[in-house]
């Protein structure tokens, strides 16, 4: 009797152990379910992510490698005001786990400790070394990496080949100095007196400073340049283009003309704009498609001022780009980083670059259609001349002061370059604080 009881008790213990073992096996072998939110711009940007198949690849890989079933929710905000929406979302705690950001916002967000330090993640990621050093360094603050670059863009001097030919000008064309640009523009004006020209780097107004070998920010002492020979050159160049030679109508800037449309319609022989215009605006799916783009659109690097030994190279340029960050509040940092790895895969980067004409930022992404595209191949080369933006939150205020002086003093009041420089120095000192600016003597 006693032995029967013992057998039954032993059997019960065995059953319990077996059940517990099965339960443990069952629960650990089942994939964990979780959600990742991704914040990006509405339209082109979000559509690319949805349609490129990158999310499906990511989900499949996570299930296979980590046994996690991930749902990715895309949060979007319109292109116009995206930066403000993003910052507000971070401040309100409603941002995505992974967010698409501009470089200037990265520094603001990192300063506020809103961003996850990605250093431990990138240090274990073999592909990180494949990103261009300039792009990697652009998001490294105090030795910590806060973002993974996604793409890049530079300023391009676009011209209409058909109008150049009609004016008897050589095609292809690559001016070496801004004086040459003015010379050609004057010939175009002579031939087409009614057509305006946009010889201004739109939202990268600081470009002529680089053309003349200068900088707007000195990282060695963390000060912005309020006055320098190069800033004077900038005001002189714009002044000459508008007033001395009458090449660029003031109304273009003041009234906000749609220069991309004018260019597409052949009403603008020469203009400066970003890399992305080539496909995003004038490509087959753009708002102003140009048939036979290769035959119609000419492109050249913005030249230098002609000052010898320019530290930025032969064709100094600006550097615009976007990157991916992870919110410091994310509950899934590993999975969020895995998503960034997927989004910045070489083939995805090349596809995005080809479809929207944005430049790749990793060495192994020169593949597929991107590699076959003459414009992109040419423009990727220009990255070596690109000067990255100052990595400080005061950059926006500096640029606001520059835009304000260019518009109010140069365009509206018609002040001389020397007067504009004085006003700019005063304004930028007031906006940034005396301790954050310095002046370089003008010989």
């Amino acid at each position: 009797m006693a032995s029967t009881t013992k057998i039954i008790a032993a059997a019960i213990v065995v059953v319990i152990i077996a059940a517990a073992g099965y339960y443990w096996y069952y629960t650990t072998s089942q994939p964990r379910t979780t959600e990742i939110t991704l914040m990006t711009k509405a339209g082109l940007w979000a559509d690319f992510i949805r349609n490129s198949g990158v999310l499906e690849d990511y989900k499949e890989r996570m299930l296979k490698e980590k046994n996690v079933k991930v749902e990715v929710t895309i949060i979007t905000a319109p292109h116009r005001g995206y930066g403000e929406k993003l910052i507000t979302s971070f401040a309100a705690g409603s941002e995505g786990d992974v967010c698409w950001v501009s470089p200037t916002d990265v520094f603001r967000l990192a300063e506020t400790e809103y961003l996850l330090d990605l250093t431990p993640y990138v240090s274990k990621w073999a592909d990180w070394e494949k990103f261009y050093p300039a792009a990697r360094n652009a998001y490294t603050i105090g030795g910590k990496v806060y973002a993974v670059p996604n793409d890049a863009a530079t300023m391009v001097l676009y011209y209409r080949k058909d109008l150049f030919k009609k004016a008897g000008l050589p095609v292809p064309w690559q001016p070496e100095t801004w004086d040459e640009v003015i010379e050609v523009a004057l010939k175009l004006k002579e031939k087409f007196p009614d057509l305006p020209m946009i010889i201004e780097a739109w939202y990268e107004e600081q470009l002529p400073v680089y053309s003349d070998g200068g900088v707007i920010y000195d990282p060695s002492d963390g000060k912005f340049i309020a006055k320098s020979p190069q800033l004077l050159y900038l005001f002189k160049l714009y002044y000459d283009i508008i007033y001395k030679y009458g090449l660029m109508p003031k109304e273009f800037k003041l009234e906000g003309w749609d220069d991309r449309k004018l260019f597409a319609e052949g009403k603008l022989p020469l203009m400066i704009d970003g890399t992305w215009c080539y496909t995003e605006k004038w490509g087959p799916n753009g708002p102003y498609p140009i048939e036979n783009r290769e035959e119609v659109i000419g492109y050249a690097h913005p030249p230098s001022s002609g000052r010898p030994n320019n530290p930025h190279g032969k064709y100094p340029n600006t550097f615009r780009d976007y990157a991916w960050v992870i919110s410091a509040r994310t509950k899934e940092p590993e999975l969020a980083f895995e998503l960034i790895k997927e989004l910045t895969r070489a083939d995805i980067m090349a596809k995005w670059g080809y479809e929207t004409s944005h430049l790749i930022v990793r060495t192994d992404a020169m593949i597929g259609d991107y590699a076959k595209d003459k414009f992109l191949e040419w423009n990727t080369e220009a990255l070596k001349y690109a000067v990255p933006k100052p990595t400080t939150t005061l950059f926006n205020k500096y640029m606001d002061a520059l835009k304000e002086v260019l518009r109010n003093e140069l365009l509206i009041n018609g002040r001389t370059p020397e007067e504009c420089l004085e006003i700019f120095a005063e304004k930028v000192t007031e906006k940034l604080g005396e301790e954050n600016v310095k002046e370089i003597p003008i010989p």
Partner: protein, 301 residues
């Protein structure tokens, strides 16, 4: 114990109407408390700090008392913005009121056929969702390809710089277009509410048209009229959408479109100076509050 229950029951029975009326106010109070009073309290509190939306001051902000208000009144841009806002409100007030009252007179006095159809056309701006207004007007005012300049060109007239040179005029024009229907509806109902007998009696006594207007119409529409003027001004003082449409994320350097609300927005969301932006927002709220008190006073009369 029973006596207490009985007393409570009696009190409830005696005050049932008051209790029901008080309960009716509860949902509105909850909404106002949650979505107006709490945010307003936060706004006032933030306006007394140097908090920023992002950057170092978002983490380590401190109480600064009235510094934001003092900075504001010494900021030349604040006074430029105030100037722009007052001009905008004053001209908008005149135009919205004049156009609206003319439309109201047409609707109440005219005997033309198809008046209903014309009235429906008059009401179109308020039928179009507000979110669509900027899109409609951007396509109208675009300097090179916009509808208005195309029409001007068709008649051999020079195109106008709607988005730059005449940007303030454009702003006021859009606001008038979108807002005159308010005056029209309010004043039309005021005209309609005057009994016809008053005019008949006035006619018997041989009153002229002007006398009928001065002695009958004007006294009877005086209060709706004042109310209408206050409401228009109150509505315009914190206008944002159309000014934002012509301005965007950062202030226009010429400041022509920088209404107070936009100035507050740019301070808080472009320069990320949330504390300062809240101070400007609070000043706008005070102006609106004073106008509301005035409105209540007029409405009570």
């Amino acid at each position: 114990m029973n006596l207490k229950v009985l007393k409570i029951k009696t009190w409830i029975r005696d005050n049932l109407d008051q209790i029901v009326l008080s309960l009716l106010v509860v949902p509105a109070l909850v909404l106002i408390f949650t979505f107006q009073l709490i945010p307003s309290a936060w706004t006032i509190w933030f306006s007394l700090t140097d908090i920023a939306l992002v950057g170092k001051k978002a983490l380590n902000w401190s109480f600064v008392g009235l510094k934001n208000y003092l900075d504001m009144i010494t900021d030349i841009d604040f006074w430029r913005s105030m100037n722009v806002t007052i001009q905008y409100c004053a001209v908008s007030l005149v135009l919205r009121f004049t156009v609206g009252i003319l439309a109201a007179l047409f609707m109440t006095l005219s005997k033309v056929k198809g008046k209903i159809l014309i009235a429906a056309i008059f009401l179109l701006p308020s039928a179009i969702p507000g979110i669509m207004h900027p899109y409609v007007w951007i396509s109208m005012l675009e300097p090179k390809y916009g509808t208005l300049n195309t029409i001007l060109k068709f008649f051999g007239l020079p195109p106008q710089s709607w988005t730059y040179g005449a940007v303030v005029e454009s702003l006021i024009m859009i606001n008038t277009w979108a807002g005159y229907t308010f005056t029209m509806i309010l004043m039309a109902s005021a005209f309609k509410s005057i009994p016809r007998e008053y005019y008949e009696v006035a006619e018997i006594y041989g009153a002229s048209r002007w006398q009928k207007f001065r002695k009958v119409t004007l006294p009877l529409i005086k209060f709706p009229l004042i109310l209408c003027l206050i409401l228009i001004f109150k509505e315009d003082i914190d206008d944002f959408t159309y000014a934002y449409m012509f301005t965007g994320e950062s202030p226009r350097p010429d400041f022509k479109t920088e209404l107070l609300s936009l100035y507050a927005y740019h301070k808080a969301f472009h320069y990320y100076e949330l504390g300062f932006g809240c101070a400007v927002g609070f000043v706008i709220a005070i102006i609106v509050f004073v106008l509301t008190l005035l409105q209540l006073r007029v409405a009570r009369v």
